[in-house]
């Protein structure tokens, strides 16, 4: 089963939430951000090159122009490879764990897998971000020493930052799986 809904992020940008229900025990949520727009790319490149050209007319040194070209190219590569995240995926598998994947615009993927034994709960939390208060989904990890304590809070969808309505959708599905997990582990 697969469906797609569109939501907005905290700044009002468009986000697409894809839900895939492979089985009752395995669900995947995939939030896709809009791709790098041609307009912003052109604007940044033009600004850098115009500034470089201005400097060039002042000091008549052609190294500045080639440096500007290299800086734009390297900056674009670095931005695509390390900064721009196109897609964030949350895969929750009953009795196995939760996996978070972020795919960068260059195709690089970074994955974190948290075993179900370490997960205490999935909650929606409030946090202060820049000058506003936002909601975010996060995974609470159990403290291995103290069973009721929380050792770590792992935020999910860090780069997309969807709004509360989108988070609630994901939260409900996660809680369904977690509730099943708790019911089975409590009565083996």
């Amino acid at each position: 089963m697969e469906d797609e809904q569109s939501f907005s992020d905290i700044c009002g940008g468009r986000l697409a939430l894809q839900r895939r229900y492979y089985s009752p025990s395995c669900r995947e949520f995939c939030i896709s951000c809009p791709r790098l727009s041609l307009r912003s790319l052109t604007a940044v490149t033009c600004t850098v090159w115009l500034a470089a050209y201005g400097l060039f007319t002042l000091c008549e040194n052609s190294i500045i122009l080639s440096a500007a070209i290299f800086i734009t190219l390297l900056g674009l590569l670095g931005y695509l490879h390390f900064v721009k995240i196109d897609q964030e995926t949350l895969l929750i598998i009953d009795s196995l764990g939760i996996q978070m994947t972020s795919s960068y615009a260059s195709g690089k993927e970074s994955t974190t897998f948290i075993e179900m034994g370490k997960v205490k709960d999935v909650i929606i939390n409030e946090g202060i971000y820049m000058q506003k208060v936002i909601y975010y989904l996060c995974i609470l990890l159990k403290d291995p020493v103290e069973p009721h304590g929380i050792s770590q809070v792992v935020p999910v969808f860090q780069s997309a930052k969807p709004r509360l309505d989108c988070l609630i959708e994901v939260y409900r599905s996660c809680q369904e799986v977690l509730a099943h997990q708790k019911a089975t582990s409590a009565s083996p």
Binding site: R20, Y22, S23, P24, S25, C26, E28, L91, I93, D94, S95, L96, G97, Q99, T101, T111, T112, F113, E115, M116, G117, K118, K120, D121, I123, I124, N125, E126, L140, H148, G149, I150, V153, I168, Y171, R172, Q175, E176, L178, A179, H180, K182, A183, T184, S185, S187, P188
Partner: protein, 701 residues
């Protein structure tokens, strides 16, 4: 249930908030889910009973099955009269006629009772990808009851003799301390569906009893597998056969076997029996595969009694070379270790520990580096076997870093000794030193005039300037006295590069320190004068305010001075205050020069540290064999079809490079600058001396 624990967390984690409607919905979902589960279970149970019914009805169908020759056993002849008791009989597939029905016919009320059961945990079957194309047979592996997961390690093919399989498993279990057992059956249908084979395989459960009994089946021409897990006696309600939901997880046996999880799990010792249960979660899977190496020893082409299908290495290439190296490494290590112990004994000799020498040793970075290199070599060539993978990795890292260092040093050596570069260097060195001295002379003359338009105290300025100029003159004559020998010294120093680039760099750092000795002297004089002035000013300032420093109580007390004391004190204070700018200017200039030299030395030191501490072997391993250093796993959901078990692909998540460096960093020779920027500025302001090396009496900030 979900919302209950949610409430608990509200107390535990401050700031966790959620609108109420979400809670309600989660609760509703929890209520809904078991029903769904029940429904799935009901249909599965019914289906199985229907399938079993003809088998119980009579053994006559067996003839149809025996007609089909299948897979690797063309000589399957019907033979009567074997059962679980006749264990020495060869078990061949396709003869279900004689198999007694091991399953008790389910009582009619079992369906109702099965429904009342709580939904079982999802059963996870870890299946090696290399066995996906294996012939039908038995699944051999380990059952981890805590996580309800079955780790399949190998497939035993037909024909086999059950007693021999059991013997093999017992042997493996003894060697690896892993509870290896027959977990179920594996059916790979190459031809059209063979109904009989399924019943036959089901019957094998009577010989190898296991709870639950797994039945994996791969259809011909279909990507989707069917998988059943049967429990004959469910502990919650005995007598009701239940089937669990199954999830298939494929893993690459080779990668899992060779990979090393990070952070390493504290494994219990091997004597503690089947103690891997302590390692939680997926670490248990990794550990099971790693320990069952004994099972993977047997070769595919061996004509043993039991034929297994599992991952096997493609043979060791150049095994003669490897064997020779293995044989030779022991004596070589012994020999080199002996030589190294001789060297270290010589370096620990009493004569070298006398006062002036030991002081010099502690100040020269070359000695520090040589000592570090000696420690490294002793560590590498020690005959003790590395106990754990971490230590082994450390040894390899040290060895690779030493080898790289020596290779770079040799490259430097060949570059230096080719085309008489040392001669050019020596010829260039003296003029450079001269030039530096000349520049310093100009600087001093500039300071003796009116530097930057400042009006200095002329008399003091002249005295200081002449003093420094004389010192510089001495230094220049010293350099000229040295100049005939510099080439030879450089030649010998160049030879030391064969000990490694780091040693050569340390020597370079020491040479820079020696050649800029005059700058150091100027700095010390300037700093001492400045320090004197600052101390005098501060104590006289206290006198000016009618206070004094109480040495016994370590505090400032008020004190009534006489009039003449106050007069003299104030006079001296005024004189010092007016002379301070002149001294401060000299101090400032020479401190800047000194800082420049210290920065160059620091740069060299950082480079040496980098070569010493970079874990090159681990980095290379991460680059070429990313699965060897695993940070964990990642799962990929494979193509899915309704009513079939979920199929996941487990892949190794390699450790990020930053973690590799952090985990396997080698200890460097440990002369880091100890002061922070704040304390450095404080020291500079108060005129205390700063050194690039660590001082023993230094207080740690």
């Amino acid at each position: 249930m979900g919302y209950k624990s949610w409430g608990g967390d509200m107390n535990a984690s401050a700031g966790a908030r959620m609108p109420h409607e979400g809670d309600k919905d989660a609760a509703r979902a929890c209520l809904r889910l078991p029903g769904l589960e029940r429904c799935v279970r009901g249909t599965l149970g019914r289906g199985r009973r229907a399938a079993r019914a003809p088998l119980g009805a009579g053994p006559s169908r067996g003839n149809a099955g025996s007609r089909r020759k299948w897979g690797s056993c063309p000589a399957a002849r019907p033979r009567q009269g074997w059962g679980p008791g006749a264990a020495s009989a060869v078990v061949r597939s396709g003869r279900p006629d004689a198999v007694p029905d091991p399953m008790p016919t389910p009582p009619p009320e079992s369906a109702a009772r099965g429904n009342s059961r709580v939904p079982g945990m999802v059963l996870k079957a870890f299946f090696p990808t290399c066995c996906a194309s294996a012939d039908s047979g038995l699944l051999v592996g380990r059952w981890v009851p805590e996580q309800t997961s079955a780790v399949v390690l190998a497939v035993v093919h037909f024909p086999f003799i059950p007693i021999q399989v059991k013997e093999l498993l017992a042997r493996v279990q003894q060697a690896s301390q892993v509870g290896v057992a027959v977990l179920g059956t594996w059916c790979h249908r190459r031809q059209d569906a063979e109904e009989s084979l399924g019943h036959f395989l089901e019957g094998l459960g009577a010989i190898f009893s296991h709870e639950p009994w797994l039945q994996l089946c791969r259809e011909r021409g279909s990507k989707f597998w069917s998988c059943k897990a049967t429990r004959r006696q469910a502990p919650t309600c005995p007598g009701a056969p239940g089937e669990d939901q199954v999830m298939l997880v494929f893993y690459d046996q080779r990668k899992v076997l060779l990979s090393q999880l990070h952070p390493p799990v504290a494994l219990p010792d091997h004597q503690a029996g089947d103690a891997v249960a302590g390692a939680g979660g997926l670490a248990a899977v990794f550990d099971t595969v790693a320990r069952s190496e004994e099972l993977f020893r047997s070769d595919r082409f061996d004509e043993g009694p039991v034929r297994l299908s599992h991952w096997q290495s493609e043979g060791v290439e150049a095994s003669i070379l490897a064997e020779l190296a293995k044989r030779a490494s022991g004596p070589i290590c012994l020999l080199l270790g002996g030589l190294l112990s001789l060297v270290s004994a010589a370096s620990a000799c009493r004569v070298l520990q006398l006062w002036p020498l030991s002081f010099i040793w502690s100040k020269l970075s070359t000695c520090e580096q040589l000592r570090h290199r000696l420690e490294q070599l002793t560590f590498v060539f020690s005959t003790q076997k590395a106990e754990n993978p971490t230590q082994l990795m450390r040894k390899a890292n040290v060895l690779v870093s030493v080898l790289l260092d020596v290779a770079l040093g040799l490259a430097l050596l060949s570059w230096l000794h080719g085309k008489d570069r040392i001669g050019h260097l020596a010829e260039a060195l003296v003029p450079v030193a001269d030039h530096v001295a000349e520049e310093l002379q100009h600087l001093l003359q500039w300071l003796m005039g009116a530097p930057a338009g400042l009006k200095m105290n002329r008399a003091l300025d002249q005295v200081l300037g002449r003093f420094f100029l004389y010192h510089l003159h001495l230094w220049i004559s010293y350099i000229h006295l040295m100049s005939p020998f510099i080439e030879r010294i450089l030649w010998h120093v160049g030879l030391s590069a064969c000990l490694g680039l780091t040693v050569a760099l340390s020597i370079l750092s020491d040479i820079i320190a020696l050649l800029t000795f005059h700058i150091y002297c100027f700095y010390v004089y300037g700093a001492r004068l400045y320090c004197l002035k600052i101390c005098g000013l501060s104590s006289l300032w206290r006198l000016f305010r009618g206070k004094k420093w109480n040495v016994l109580r370590q505090r400032v007390d008020s004190c009534s001075y006489d009039l003449d004391q106050l007069f003299i004190g104030t006079l001296l204070f005024t004189i010092l205050l007016f002379l301070l700018p002149t001294t401060a200017l000299y101090y400032l200039v020479f401190t800047l020069l000194r800082l420049l030299v210290v920065a160059v030395q620091g740069l060299i030191h950082v480079l040496v540290d980098l070569i010493n501490s970079l874990p090159l072997y681990s980095l290379g391993l991460r680059l070429c064999r990313p699965y060897r250093l695993a940070a964990g796993v990642k799962f990929r959901v494979l193509e899915h079809e309704a009513d079939r078990p979920l199929r996941l692909l487990m892949q190794i998540n390699p450790l990020p490079f930053s973690h590799v460096i952090r985990t396997y960093r080698l200890p460097s020779c440990g002369c880091h600058p100890t002061h922070s920027w704040g304390s450095l500025c404080r020291k500079l302001f108060f005129g205390e001396l700063i050194y690039p090396w660590r001082q023993k009496g230094d207080k740690r900030d």
